[in-house]
C-alpha cells in the first residue's frame, strides 16, 4: 500500500511538472495584465520544436533551446497583438492555439514523414533521470529509503527545475523591483505610467518570461516525459495550467499545490485504468480525467471564494487624459 502511494506520488511529480511550468508562465503573463489562453499552443509548439531539434542535432539541450525560441516567438506575437496593437487577448491566444495545432502536424509531416510525429528520441536526445548518490543502496531502508530513491531521486533535470521555479517565481514577483512593477502594471497601469515607467516594456518582459517557461514545459513533454512529439500531445495541459493559476489565485505556492492536486488526480487516473473498485466496478478513465476540471469549478464556485485576478487583466492600456 505504502509503495503504491509512493509510486502514485512519484507519477504525480512527473505529471505535474509541465503544469507547474505552464502555470508559472501564465502567472507572469497574467500578473502583468495579459490574459494568456495560449499557454496550450506555446507548450505544443515548444514540444514540437524540442523534439524536432533534438532529433536533428541529437541533443536534448539544443532541443530545449529551440523549444524556448519557438515559444518565445509566439509569446512575442501575442504581445505584439495585445500590447502594441491593444487587441483582444482571448482572440489572439485562441489564434495561437489553432495555428500551432495545425502547423506542428503539417511541419512534422513535411520534415519527418512519420504521420506528423517526430522520430523516436534516444540517448542524449532525451533528458534522462538523475539518480541521487546512494539511491540504489538506500532503496531497502524502510520508509525513508523508498521516499529517497523513488520519490526524490530519479527524475530528469526539468522536474527539479520546475519545482525550483516556484520559490524563484515567488522571490521575483514579491521581492524584486521587476516584480513590484509587474504586479503594479497588472493592477493599475496608469499608476505605472505616471511613475515614469513604460507599461509596454514591463508587459513585453512578462510575456517573454511566459514564453520561456512554456517552452521548457513543451520540451519536457516531448524530450523528457516522452520520447518524441505526438500530435496534440499537450492535450489540454495549458488549459489545466490556467485553471490551476486561477485556483491558486495567481500566487506561486498555491498554484504549485493546485498543479500537484491536478497531477495527483491524473496519476490516480492512470493507476485506476482497468482496476475494478469494490462496489463501483470499473471506473471509466474519462470520469477520473474530468475530475480536475470539475474540481476547479466546484472549488471556485463553492469553497475557496471568489478568485479575484489582477484588476487590469485583459484590458488594453490606452494612455489617455480627460
Amino acid at each position: 500500500m505504502f509503495e503504491t502511494l509512493i509510486l502514485i506520488l512519484d507519477a504525480t511529480l512527473r505529471v505535474s511538472t509541465p503544469l507547474i511550468l505552464a502555470a508559472l508562465a501564465g502567472l507572469f503573463s497574467e500578473r502583468s495584465g495579459i490574459v494568456d489562453i495560449g499557454l496550450e499552443g506555446k507548450m505544443l509548439a515548444g514540444a514540437f520544436a524540442a523534439a524536432a531539434a533534438a532529433a536533428v542535432f541529437g541533443s536534448a539541450w539544443i532541443g530545449l533551446l529551440f523549444a524556448i525560441a519557438a515559444s518565445v516567438s509566439l509569446a512575442l506575437i501575442h504581445g505584439f497583438a495585445c500590447i502594441t496593437h491593444r487587441g483582444d487577448h482571448i482572440v489572439s491566444g485562441v489564434a495561437i492555439n489553432t495555428i500551432v495545432a495545425g502547423l506542428t502536424i503539417t511541419l512534422g509531416l513535411d520534415w519527418f514523414d512519420q504521420g506528423g510525429q517526430t522520430p523516436s528520441l534516444t540517448g542524449d536526445a532525451r533528458f534522462t533521470p538523475i539518480v541521487f548518490p546512494l539511491a540504489d543502496q538506500l532503496a531497502d531502508v524502510p520508509v525513508i529509503g523508498l521516499i529517497y530513491s523513488e520519490l526524490l531521486s530519479g527524475h530528469n533535470i526539468l522536474v527539479y527545475l520546475a519545482f525550483a521555479m516556484v520559490p524563484l517565481t515567488y522571490w521575483v514577483v514579491f521581492k524584486t523591483r521587476f516584480g513590484l512593477r509587474l504586479r503594479a502594471v497588472g493592477e493599475n497601469p496608469h499608476a505605472v505610467d505616471t511613475a515614469g515607467i513604460s507599461v509596454a516594456l514591463i508587459r513585453y518582459r512578462a510575456v517573454i518570461i511566459c514564453g520561456v517557461l512554456c517552452g521548457i514545459a513543451g520540451a519536457y513533454l516531448s524530450t523528457a516525459h516522452n520520447a518524441g512529439f505526438l500530435k496534440d500531445m499537450s492535450a489540454g495541459k495549458g488549459y489545466m495550467a490556467l485553471a490551476a493559476l486561477i485556483f491558486g489565485k495567481w500566487r506561486p505556492v498555491p498554484v504549485l499545490f493546485a498543479c500537484l492536486l491536478f497531477g495527483f488526480l491524473d496519476a490516480v487516473a492512470v493507476r485506476l485504468q482497468g482496476v475494478s473498485l469494490p462496489g463501483i466496478g470499473e471506473v471509466p478513465v474519462q470520469a477520473i480525467e474530468v475530475l480536475p476540471y470539475v474540481l476547479t469549478v466546484l472549488l471556485l464556485a463553492g469553497f475557496i471564494g471568489k478568485a479575484v485576478g489582477p484588476k487590469a487583466i485583459g484590458k488594453p492600456y490606452v494612455k489617455e487624459r480627460a
Binding site: 513590484l180 515614469g196 515607467i197 484588476k311 480627460a322
Partner: protein
C-alpha cells in the same frame, strides 16, 4: 528683472496643443513664482488638464517652451517631468489599490533591483517627510483600506519622495469632505513654507480664494487673465471664466411645503456583492420643497435614487407614493414609476440619461417613448417629436438648437438641459435629480438651478442629490446627510453651515471626533 536668479519656478511660453479640430491650448503663457500656491481656474473643457498634462509629459505640446527655475527643459514623458522636479496629484488617483502605501510610493523609484534595501531606506525617508508635513499616514496600510483623503496624501507623498519641487494638483477636492479639504490646504500651506511651488487646478472659486497667492484664468483653451488672489473676488473670477457676468446666488423665496407626496420607510438595498448599500433609509418629501441629500460620493446616494426610481428593487422597506404602497414584494419598475408621475434625472447622463448615439429629438423622448403623443398606429410620429424638441430647445436655450445633432456632440451643459427638459416638461409630481450640474458650465448652472426652483414653486417635490455642497446649500429647503448607506442627520437649510454638514458627511458628528475643533 529682479536680481534673484530664478524668480519663476515654472514658466510657460506660447504653449499650443491641438487634438484634431479642437485647439485645446492656444498660445499659453504662464509664470509661477517660486514658493507660491498658484491657482488655475476655468470651466470644464477650458484646457486646464491638457496644459498640466503637457507639463507632466503626458502630451507633447505642438509649440511653445517650458522653463523650470529659469532653465529651458524638454519634457517628453513623465520620467522627464519627475527628473526636473515636477510631481502631480491626479484627479483620479494613480495608485495600485492592493499595494501598501510604501510599495506605492517606491514604485518607479525602488532604488535597486531587489526591493529590500530600497524599502528600508524609503521607510526612513517617508517617516521624515510624513512628520515634516504632518501627513499622518501608516506606510504599511493597504491603500484600498484608506479613506480617499488619505489616499490623496499618499499621492502627495509619492511626489515628495521623488523630490518634487513643483506639485500640481488636479481638482484635488472633488472627492473630499470639507474637513478633509481643509486638511489638504493646511498641508499645501506647509509645503509652500518649505519652498515647494504648488499649482492648484480647480473649478471651485472658493478654494482659489481661500488658498492661493495668485490665480490664472483659462477659457476655451486660452489664458485670459492673471490676478493676485488678494486683488480679486468670486464675481470677477466667475466672469473671467465664463466670459460674461454670472449670478452665483440662486434667487428663491422661502419654501411653502404642503402635503407629503412621497414617503420612504426603512429602505434597504444590498449590492451584488451582498454589501448593504442602503441601511433603513426613511424620509418624507413634501410638495413645494427641495430636499437635498448631501454626502461624499459613494455613500448610498446613487443606490437611493435607483431604488426610488424603480431601477433597482429594494431589499426591504416601503415607499408610499401617489396612493400606492411599493414594497419589495410589490415592486414597481422604472416605467411604472414614470407613469405615476415620478421623473428622474439620473446622476450619470452618459450612462443612464441619454443614448449618446441618438439624435437630440430621439433622446428627448426616452422613457416616454410609448406615450400617445409620439406614437401613431404603427410608426412613431416623427414630426410631433421634432416639433416638440424644437420648442423645448428654444425654451431651455439648448445650443446649438439642432434636433438632429447627436447628443454626444452637445456640451455637458446642453446635454443636461435636454435631459432635465425631458423630465420636467412631463409635469411630474416628484422629480428625482442627481448631480444636476456635474460637468456643466457656470452659465448653464444658473439656468438649471432656476428651473429647479421654478418647479418647486409650482408645488412639486424635488429630491436633489449632489456631491457639491455649495449646490445643496444653495438649492435645498431641507438637507439630509448620508453616510455609509444610512441617513446620519437632517438640518433645515436655513440652519445648515458647511462645517456641520461636513462633519456629518464624515460621520464625525456622532463619533464626537473633531466636533470641538
Amino acid at each position: 528683472m529682479t536680481p534673484r536668479t530664478h524668480p519663476y519656478s515654472i514658466e510657460l511660453k506660447g504653449i499650443s496643443k491641438r487634438f484634431g479640430t479642437v485647439q485645446a491650448n492656444k498660445n499659453i503663457d504662464l509664470q509661477v513664482p517660486a514658493g507660491t500656491i498658484h491657482g488655475i481656474i476655468g470651466e470644464n473643457g477650458a484646457g486646464k488638464s491638457t496644459l498640466m498634462s503637457i507639463i507632466y509629459g503626458f502630451y507633447e505640446a505642438d509649440a511653445g517652451s517650458i522653463s523650470i527655475d529659469g532653465q529651458l527643459v524638454s519634457i517628453r514623458n513623465s520620467q522627464d517631468a519627475i527628473k526636473v522636479g515636477i510631481g502631480m496629484v491626479h484627479q483620479h488617483f494613480m495608485l495600485v489599490e492592493n499595494f501598501s502605501v510604501l510599495e506605492n510610493v517606491i514604485l518607479g523609484a525602488e532604488g535597486g533591483a531587489v526591493l529590500k534595501q530600497g524599502m528600508d531606506a524609503a521607510r526612513q525617508e517617508l517617516k521624515r517627510l510624513e512628520q515634516e508635513y504632518s501627513l499622518d499616514i501608516d506606510v504599511d496600510a493597504i491603500v484600498e483600506d484608506l479613506p480617499v483623503g488619505l489616499q490623496q496624501r499618499v499621492e502627495i507623498l509619492k511626489a515628495l519622495y521623488r523630490g518634487a519641487k513643483i506639485l500640481i494638483l488636479d481638482e484635488p477636492t472633488g472627492v473630499l469632505t470639507p474637513q478633509e479639504a481643509d486638511h489638504l490646504f493646511r498641508i499645501l500651506k506647509s509645503l509652500k513654507d518649505q519652498g515647494v511651488t504648488v499649482i492648484l487646478i480647480t473649478h471651485k472659486l472658493r478654494e482659489i480664494l481661500a488658498s492661493t497667492d495668485n490665480v490664472s484664468v483659462m477659457r476655451q483653451g486660452e489664458m485670459v487673465a492673471h490676478r493676485e488672489t488678494v486683488n480679486t473676488d468670486k464675481e470677477e473670477l466667475a466672469e473671467l471664466m465664463v466670459g460674461k457676468k454670472v449670478r452665483l446666488k440662486v434667487d428663491k423665496n422661502e419654501a411653502e411645503p404642503q402635503q407629503t407626496l412621497l414617503s420612504a420607510r426603512e429602505l434597504s438595498y444590498f449590492d451584488s456583492q451582498g454589501v448593504e448599500r442602503l441601511k433603513k433609509v426613511s424620509f418624507d418629501l413634501k410638495a413645494g420643497e427641495i430636499l437635498g441629500i448631501a454626502g461624499v460620493s459613494g455613500n448610498g446616494q446613487s443606490e437611493l435614487l435607483n431604488v426610488l426610481s424603480g431601477i433597482t428593487p429594494m431589499a426591504s422597506g416601503e415607499i408610499q407614493f401617489a396612493g400606492q404602497t411599493i414594497t419589495a414584494n410589490a415592486p414597481k419598475n422604472a416605467a411604472q414609476m414614470r407613469d405615476l408621475k415620478m421623473a428622474h434625472v439620473p446622476e450619470d447622463r452618459h450612462k443612464m440619461g441619454l443614448v449618446t448615439g441618438f439624435e437630440a429629438y430621439e433622446a428627448a423622448v426616452l422613457g416616454y417613448h410609448d406615450s400617445e403623443a409620439y406614437n401613431g398606429k404603427v410608426l412613431m410620429k416623427r414630426k410631433a417629436m421634432l416639433d416638440e424638441c424644437n420648442e423645448r430647445m428654444a425654451a431651455w436655450d439648448v445650443r446649438p438648437p439642432n434636433p438632429h445633432l447627436k447628443t454626444a456632440n452637445f456640451s455637458g451643459g446642453n446635454q443636461q438641459k435636454i435631459v432635465i427638459a425631458r423630465e420636467v416638461e412631463q409635469n411630474p409630481e416628484v422629480l428625482l435629480i442627481g448631480q444636476p450640474t456635474r460637468g456643466v458650465d457656470i452659465g448653464a448652472i444658473e439656468n438649471i438651478h432656476e428651473q429647479i426652483v421654478k418647479l418647486r414653486d409650482a408645488g412639486k417635490a424635488i429630491l436633489l442629490v449632489s456631491v457639491e455642497l455649495d449646490e445643496i446649500m444653495a438649492l435645498s429647503d431641507r438637507i439630509i446627510v448620508m453616510f455609509d448607506g444610512a441617513v446620519v442627520g437632517e438640518v433645515a437649510a436655513s440652519e445648515a453651515d458647511e462645517r456641520t454638514l461636513g462633519l456629518m458627511m464624515a460621520n464625525a458628528w456622532n463619533e464626537g471626533r473633531g466636533v470641538q475643533v
